[in-house]
């Protein structure tokens, strides 16, 4: 399999996302997240160069700025302030989650082969595989994390999967939509961060699996 830059970037973003599953240390997770998003930003720039679409350069730039720099820094700041280092993990232990994630990558490959009639060339097929894998990884992250920050990271990865799918399958949505999405993600993360502070203050922990007062 001779891979071009496009596929390598797509697959490396998927692999980096899967590696996030393997560690419960929030710092390591954030670093992996930044790298993973950097791969996606570079993929966007590569796509811009390939289809000669200038607006994608801007999207790539803003992804790099917001998701690679600002959001991880903000979350790192939150982590520092509420004084947590690692997730205690839910019913899925980290190693099992990571191996399941790899299984999901294989499953995504099979799925993308099944649907090969939809995405014609090999590039978009590998893109679809990577995007689906990132999406599933996000779901797994949310399932295997117990504390609020872990869940937020899972949500961000899931969001990245959707973005990667949009990028590789549709060669980018209209600019206004992309920008709107980015802004939306930023605001979501900011609000999540604030809520995490509140949870820490009221409950003295941020383990969301223990928030069960309202359950019937």
């Amino acid at each position: 399999m001779i891979l071009d830059t496009f596929s390598i970037l797509a697959i490396s973003s998927a692999v980096l996302a899967i590696l996030m599953l393997g560690t419960m240390y929030l710092r390591a997770n954030l670093n992996f997240y930044a790298l993973h998003t950097l791969a996606i930003a570079m993929e966007t720039a590569w796509m811009a160069q390939k289809i000669h679409d200038e607006h994608l350069y801007w999207v790539a730039f803003f992804i790099a700025l917001l998701k690679v720099v600002i959001i991880p820094r903000y979350l790192a700041w939150v982590i520092r302030n509420i004084d947590v280092e690692s997730d205690s993990g839910s019913f899925i232990p980290a190693p099992v989650a990571m191996l399941t994630g790899i299984g999901m990558l294989g499953a995504s490959y099979l799925l993308s082969v099944q649907l090969s009639s939809l995405w014609g060339d090999i590039d978009s097929r590998i893109g679809a595989m990577a995007a689906m894998s990132v999406f599933f990884t996000g779901v797994l992250l949310m399932l295997s994390r117990k504390i609020a920050i872990g869940q937020i990271i899972g949500f961000l990865v899931l969001e990245n999967g959707i973005y990667l799918f949009a990028l590789t399958q549709t060669h980018g949505m209209p600019l206004i939509i992309e920008m709107g999405l980015l802004l939306e993600v930023l605001v979501v993360v900011m609000i999540f961060g604030l809520v995490v502070f509140r949870i820490k203050k009221s409950f003295e922990h941020i383990d969301v699996s223990r928030l069960t007062n309202l359950r019937e």
């Binding site: 399999m1 001779i2 891979l3 390598i8 697959i11 692999v15 899967i18 590696l19 393997g22 560690t23 419960m24 232990p93 980290a94 190693p95 990571m98 191996l99 790899i102 990558l105 294989g106 490959y109």
Partner: protein, 308 residues
């Protein structure tokens, strides 16, 4: 030419291992702002141990006395079989399953010898060693097997031979296999995130705990075997990394040999950096670390399968 290869290889087998360790220790010392011992210090240590007398517990059987020698012999054979350097005299039948089982054989005798002495700490170390070996085995097998699957042979010397062009464009596979083998070598060799080789706290030791009872020439033999094993494992990982660089495939054998020697020392330096920056993992966190090695192995398998 064959004679020249033999001489250089045998010389390397006996001279190189302590030197790699010396470089490692020196780098580590410099990282910690110490001058550190000379890079030849491991030779002096081995010489010192060989010239010492030996104390053997009365309750031990022949296994304890002979385990070190058996292991030494096995590892020497493995060193001849495994292509951990490019300038290795040709050997037939370096089957990957055979190699993996020969490593298992050395582990078997080390563990037996540790149990034989009957010390509480040795038993401790033996139990941990076996647990880790069990966890890390899949990673090694996955990495090798996916390489073998792509090369359509299980002979390591064919897989790693530089004229095997079925593997020459598989940079991703080589990179992942290298990472997987490197991570698992840290576990097999009881290096830093898994076990601190410089510790003197018996409760946390793994490999050091097993050889607590050895002394004198026996200990020297054990140590040398360990260094050689270290070189083999890091060497094979370094070979994988080298092959993931397209440039490596285009150069002549002499440069390849020099590169692989250099890569071996690089591995030593990298391990020193890892040991200087990481902390030892708690025993219960170990499966999380080993899972990364297994994950790399699984990535190799996926790449190998998708290719076919």
């Amino acid at each position: 030419m064959a004679i020249f290869e033999w001489i250089s290889f045998v010389a390397v087998v006996f001279i190189l291992p302590p030197l790699v360790l010396g470089v490692l220790c020196k780098t580590k010392a410099r990282l910690q702002n110490r001058i550190g011992a000379s890079i030849f210090q491991p030779y002096f240590d081995l010489y010192k141990l060989f010239s010492k007398g030996e104390t053997v517990s009365e309750v031990t059987s022949w296994i304890f006395r002979n385990a070190a020698a058996i292991n030494f012999a096995v590892v020497i054979v493995v060193a001849l079989l495994v292509p951990w350097l490019t300038f290795k005299p040709a050997f037939v039948g370096a089957d990957l399953i055979l190699v993996i089982y020969m490593f298992a054989l050395t582990r078997f005798f080390t563990v037996l010898a540790a149990l034989d002495a009957g010390s509480a700490f040795s038993g401790f170390g033996a139990s941990r060693e076996v647990t880790m070996a069990m966890l890390v085995e899949p990673a090694v097998i996955f990495c090798f097997a996916s390489l073998a699957c792509v090369a359509r042979t299980s002979d390591l010397s064919v897989i790693f031979s530089c004229d095997n062009f079925s593997l020459s464009h598989n940079n991703a596979l080589w990179l992942m296999a290298g990472l997987g083998l490197f991570l698992s070598s840290l576990v097999e060799l009881s290096r830093m995130p898994v076990d601190d080789p410089t510790t003197h706290l018996e409760l946390t030791m793994v490999h050091e705990a097993m050889i607590l009872e050895n002394s004198g020439p026996n200990l020297a033999l054990v140590l040398f075997t360990h260094y050689l094993k270290m070189c083999i494992l890091w060497g094979i990982a370094a070979q994988c990394f080298l092959r993931s660089i397209s440039y490596f495939w285009t150069v002549g054998p002499l440069i390849q040999g020099a590169l692989s020697l250099g890569a071996l020392f690089c591995m030593g330096v990298i391990v020193a950096i890892i040991e200087g920056t990481l902390v030892k993992l708690r025993w219960t966190k170990l499966p999380q670390f080993i899972a990364f090695a297994v994950a790399m192995g699984l990535f190799c398998v996926l790449i190998a399968v998708m290719r076919g």
